[in-house]
Symmetry: C2
Subunit: 289 residues, 2 copies
C-alpha cells in the first residue's frame, strides 16, 4: 500500500489494449469513478471501439497501438494472453520512459518473464489477474461494478519496482477489488487447479455428452459446464501458457477419477459416501463460509 | 393426458414419505394449489415433521409408515433412493388396493423392477423423476414453486396401468412441471451422463484441489462444483443404483480427458481451440436457446 500522499490516482491517460468484457469493464469503472482523466482504447475494429465509446467504456478509440499508448501513464493489456507479449513489445516502442504496464491475463509466469524484459524500453511492468468476468464476451457485457469484491492477484517479481507495484495495487483497490500479492509461478500452479482445470473439465463433460442425453440435463449440468461457454481462443491461449502446471492438475484429477472408478466397480457404498462427504465438507467449509 | 372429466384432482389423501426439500416442496405445492384434500408426511424424526407442519408443507406428520399410508390415494416416496424399496414394501402392507405409488428418485430402472412387483399388494406404481432441487437439503429449503417449469420424467413400464400413468402425469403437470415420458432403462442411461457423472466430476475436482489452491478459486470453480455440496447419502445411493450406466459415462469422459492430455502434451493450439470451440458450440446451442 502506498500512503495517501503518494497516490498516483487519478491517472492521467490510461490506455486499455483490448476493449472487451474485462477491458471495457475496467474502462467503465475508471471513468465512472473518475480514476483517470482520460481512457483510450486500442482495438482491431473501429466499429467495436466506437461502440465502446458509445457505452462510456473509453473516451476515444484507435486501431494504432503506437498512437494509443503515446500519452499513457498506464497501459493495460486486456486481450487474450497469447497476443499480449507481441502487443507489449509494439507498445514499448512508443511509450514514455517509466510508463506503467499491467495486464489482466489468467497466467502470469510467462508474461512476467517476457514483460519484465521490456523495462529496457521504458515500461515498468506489474502483472495483474482480476478474478472477474463470465463466460460472456464483448464490451456490451461490460459492467462498471465487475471488479467490486473480486479478488485481484498482483504478481511482482524480484525486478518489480516497489512504486510500480504500489500503483497497480492502488488501481485495483480503487475499482473495488481485493488485492492479493502472489509470486507469478505460484499463481500459475494454484490457478491451474482452481480455474484452468475446471474449465477444461467442463468442456470435457460437454464434449462427452450425446445429443439425446443433452436434452435431459437440468440445473446441475448447466452450472457444472457454464464456463465451457467461454471464449475458446482466450482459454486455449492461457491453458497452453500454463500447460505444465495444468498437466499436473489434470494428473491429480485423473487420480481421483481412478479412485471413483474403483469404488463404482466394487459397488462400495460406504466408500462412495465417504468420498462424496469429503468433497462436500471441503467445498462447504470454503465456499459457504 | 387424461380428459378433464377423468381427472383425479384433487387427490384425497396424499402421503409423502420423506419430507425434505423435494417432499416438502411437493407438499407445499399440493396444499397451496389445493390439489389434495389432505397431505400426510411420514418421517423418522417427529421434530422435523412438526417443522414441516409449521411450514405448511403437510397437514400432519407421523413416524409410522403403516398409519401414514392407510388412507392414502397416492403415496409419494421422497427419501434417498436406497431406502425406497424397503419403505414401499412396508407401506404395501397397509394400503388399500389400487393406491397409486410414485417416487422422485433420480434412477428408475431398479425401482421400476422392484416396485412394479408390489402391484400384487395393492400398489399401482409409476416412477417419476422431477429435475428440480438444489444442493441444499431439508424442508426449510422447500418452495411451493420448485417444480414450475422443471422437466419431470415419468417412466412407465409394460406393466404400468394407463390410468395410473395418466394420474401421475396429471400430478406433475398440476404443480407446474413439464412431463416427459421415458423408458426407465433409457432414463438411467441418459441421466448417468446428464446428471450423475457431472455430480461425481464436481466431487472429484474438489477432492483433487489443495487447500492453497482452494483459497484462489473464483466463480468458475464455485459453479463447476456447486453440486458437490449435495447430500452424500442421496448421491451415493443413486450412483450405485446406476453404476453400470455411470461407468459407461465415466468411460466417455475419460476418453475426452485422454484427448485433452494428448493436446496439452503436444502444445497444439489449433487442436485445443477446436476442442473448446466444439464444447462451446454444443453447450450454447442447447443451453442458451
Amino acid at each position: 500500500m502506498v500512503s495517501p500522499s503518494a497516490s498516483v490516482l487519478p491517472f492521467r491517460t490510461v490506455t486499455i489494449i483490448g476493449v472487451g468484457l474485462i477491458g471495457g469493464s475496467l474502462g467503465l469503472a475508471l471513468r465512472r469513478r473518475q480514476l483517470a482523466r482520460r481512457v483510450v482504447g486500442v482495438g482491431r475494429r473501429q466499429a467495436r471501439l466506437d461502440r465502446a465509446v458509445a457505452l462510456g467504456a473509453i473516451d476515444a478509440g484507435t486501431l494504432s497501438v503506437a498512437s494509443g499508448v503515446r500519452d499513457a501513464e498506464l497501459v493495460v493489456l486486456a486481450t487474450p494472453v497469447g497476443a499480449m507479449v507481441e502487443l507489449a513489445r509494439e507498445a514499448a516502442q512508443s511509450v514514455a520512459r517509466g510508463t506503467l504496464l499491467t495486464d489482466v491475463g489468467s497466467t502470469k509466469a510467462l508474461l512476467a518473464r517476457e514483460l519484465d524484459a521490456l523495462s529496457a524500453h521504458g515500461f515498468r511492468y506489474v502483472g495483474s489477474h482480476p478474478m472477474a468476468g463470465s463466460e460472456r464476451q464483448g464490451v456490451e457485457e461490460a459492467q462498471a461494478g465487475l471488479f467490486e469484491g473480486a479478488v485481484c492477484f498482483v504478481t511482482p517479481t524480484p525486478h518489480t519496482e516497489p512504486r510500480a507495484l504500489a500503483a497497480v495495487e492502488e488501481l485495483w483497490q480503487a475499482v473495488g477489488a481485493r488485492v492479493r500479492v502472489l509470486d507469478p509461478a505460484k499463481h500459475d500452479r494454484l490457478l491451474a487447479m482452481a480455474s484452468h482445470l475446471p474449465h477444461l473439465v467442463a468442456a470435457a463433460l460437454v464434449n462427452a455428452i450425446t445429443p439425446e442425453a443433452l436434452a435431459c440435463v437440468g440445473p446441475g449440468f448447466r452450472d457444472t459446464t457454464r464456463v465451457a461457454s467461454g471464449d475458446p481462443l482466450l482459454w486455449a491461449d492461457l491453458c497452453l501458457q500454463n500447460r505444465e502446471r495444468l498437466l499436473d492438475a489434470l494428473g491429480a484429477l485423473e487420480a481421483q477419477l481412478r479412485t471413483l472408478r474403483r469404488i463404482l466397480d466394487d459397488g462400495a457404498h460406504a466408500d462412495l459416501r465417504a468420498w462424496l462427504q469429503s468433497a462436500k465438507a471441503v467445498r462447504d467449509s470454503h465456499l459457504h463460509p
